[in-house]
């Protein structure tokens, strides 16, 4: 087990290096010049060159990469061009804000989808199955930003129950799900974030439970006198490796891919930050955000791999 874990961890190092290269390259490929955005239209070419040198943007690309990588290693992601603040602090702050809504969304979606999926698989073809399938398909097909606008119209505009945008005064440092003043800001983003993964995971849970229930060993379990509840426990454990993989994937998407939802709700998370960095061509900020998100994605997958191998003994051998 430990050997397997150690090997998996070592294997992530080249992946992370690849991530840094791609992060670095992506931004170079993108059109537009950040220096031009900083300067007033009347500035001279010499001013531009001076500023370029000050940010190190006049160096050859490989040199820029290694300088950047060296700083990244010690946690320095540079200064944001737009705000002139350290990128590291800004990204981590936004990251924590995103975690506040992403983690609970994905856990909520996971738990509900497990219950839905199991019920649907057991009642396959019945009305309950059809209702759950309808909810799942709705979750998969509805664009989250549209759903976001709709819930805002209902709960913020018409009913005035919930605030339409923002995160409230506490920020991620003091955020509590049990304090209404904080939580009311998170409800609508959580709904908008949770619905798509809920749909996808319900569908996959349903099909994997159905697949497990068709396997021979389930008949053995019944033949030895286990109740249906005990059979479900076996079935759930058997779908766990797949379910955990799905969970990791969805968490990765929500941490990085919630640009639309966070923008709709002006939730100050990584998605919102990415949007801002792109619009202002703030290269260090963009690079830093993408790097943190990609690293988080890689690490989540590492955890998923290790969790899977703990659940399924057959995976450890390979």
């Amino acid at each position: 087990m430990w050997l397997y874990a150690a090997r998996r961890i070592v294997l992530t190092i080249p992946i992370l290096l690849g991530v840094t290269i791609i992060c670095f390259a992506l931004v170079q490929i993108a059109p537009g010049d950040p220096i031009q955005n900083l300067l007033s239209p009347t500035a001279s070419a010499a001013d531009a060159a001076r500023l370029r040198a000050a940010y190190g943007l006049d160096q050859p690309l490989p040199v820029q990469y290694f300088i950047w990588l060296g700083k990244v290693m010690v946690g320095d992601l540079g200064m944001s061009i737009a705000n002139n603040t350290p990128v590291t602090g800004e990204v981590l702050h936004a990251f924590m804000n995103t975690i506040v809504i992403a983690l609970i969304s994905v856990v909520l979606a996971f738990v509900i989808s497990m219950i839905f999926g199991i019920i649907a698989a057991y009642r396959s073809g019945k009305l309950v199955d059809k209702a759950i399938t309808a909810i799942a398909v709705f979750g998969i097909s509805v664009p989250p930003f549209w759903l976001g606008v709709i819930v805002v119209i209902i709960f913020a505009v018409n009913l005035s129950w919930l605030p339409a945008t923002g995160m409230g005064a506490s920020g991620s440092e003091n955020f509590s799900y049990f304090r209404w003043a904080d939580f009311k800001f998170a409800i609508m983003p959580i709904i908008a974030l949770a619905l798509p993964p809920l749909g996808i995971m319900t569908r996959t849970t349903r099909s994997s439970v159905a697949e497990i229930l068709n396997q021979d060993f389930v008949q053995t379990l019944r033949a030895k006198g286990l109740s249906e509840a005990q059979v479900i426990i076996h079935a759930v454990r058997n779908i766990m490796p797949q379910a955990v993989a799905m969970l990791g994937l969805q968490l990765g998407y929500l941490i990085g891919g919630s640009v639309l939802v966070e923008t709709v709700f002006t939730w100050p998370g990584t998605g919102y930050l990415l949007n801002k960095a792109v619009l202002t061509r703030d290269i260090p900020l963009l690079q830093g955000t993408i790097l943190v998100l990609a690293t988080a994605f890689v690490l989540i997958n590492l955890v998923v791999d290790l969790a899977q191998s703990m659940i399924d003994p057959r995976l450890k051998r390979s």
């Binding site: 019944r222 033949a223 006198g225 076996h234």
Partner: protein, 352 residues
Amino acid sequence: MNDMTAPDFTLATPQTEPFVRVEDLRVKFVSRDATVRAVNGISFDLERGKVLCVIGESGSGKSVMMRSLLRLHPKNRTVIEGTMRVGDHDIAGVSDRAMIDLRGSLISMVFQEPMTALDPLYTVGDQIAETVRRHEGVSKEAAWARALELLDLVRVPSPERRLKAYPHELSGGLRQRVVIAMALSCRPSLLLADEPTTALDASVQIQILVLLRKIQREMGMSMIFVTHDLGVAAQIADQVAVMYAGRIIEYGEARDVLLSPQHPYTQAMLASTAKDQDRDVPLEAIAGNPPDLRALPDGCSFAPRCKYAGPDCTLTMPPPITDAWGHMARCFKVGIGPAGKLRFDAKIAEPV
């Protein structure tokens, strides 16, 4: 003798009723597209401590009959009619909850495919102990101790180590021993073995067969053993039932059925097995295919493939004809011979 091999009931007074009685069992699978009549009126008795071998082609309803005795079929798509009694229990009539309690304790089952019959994510010990705890409510330690005892009983080498093994770490033969150990864990009175040796290597088959026979005798269990291997049947059976299209078409003492088969189907089946023939003599295969269970023809189901069949064989199902030794066959051309024994005679005319 240890407690495993001395069930109390062997000391009881002789039974007036057989231990297992199945009467006119019918099983249908109903779906939107078709109704499959898998079992069409099976009746048999089985004494305590005896082995009944059920022989038949794939699709003759052998496995369906076995699963019916445990009520393992999906409830919403299956119609089971007839009576099944095991000991004092009315299998067809008890509640679902009571049936769950009987599974694994009164009746257990060993399946055909040891590679897939065990949960891949649980250790062998967990799976055996789970069964013990389910029925006997003992502590975890006691259940594991019992699991160890059981692995020892089914001759698994170094059982302590094997208890902590996962199914994928064991060979097919060892897995089948584990499945058997699990089936025996709560001292069942009736063991259903559904082709337990079919998926195994030839040398392992014999070992498993000998083991099952030995344990069955020691524990005084009744056993229903499904196979399509006549050699296996000859090894293990007290009685033999030959199934075709969901019916028992010949039944009797193993010796009678296997040595002097009277039903044309049994005769043809025995003729199509390789025994002492010379190399160049081709085996006699039975022409045609088993009938479609979605649309069973009237009359004798074997008639379309039977070389003796007359035009009227397809009108009604032949009734069972039984001789004084309990040898039964369902064929219009079978009668009671001069010695009082069941005898096939192609000249007997089918009723009009």
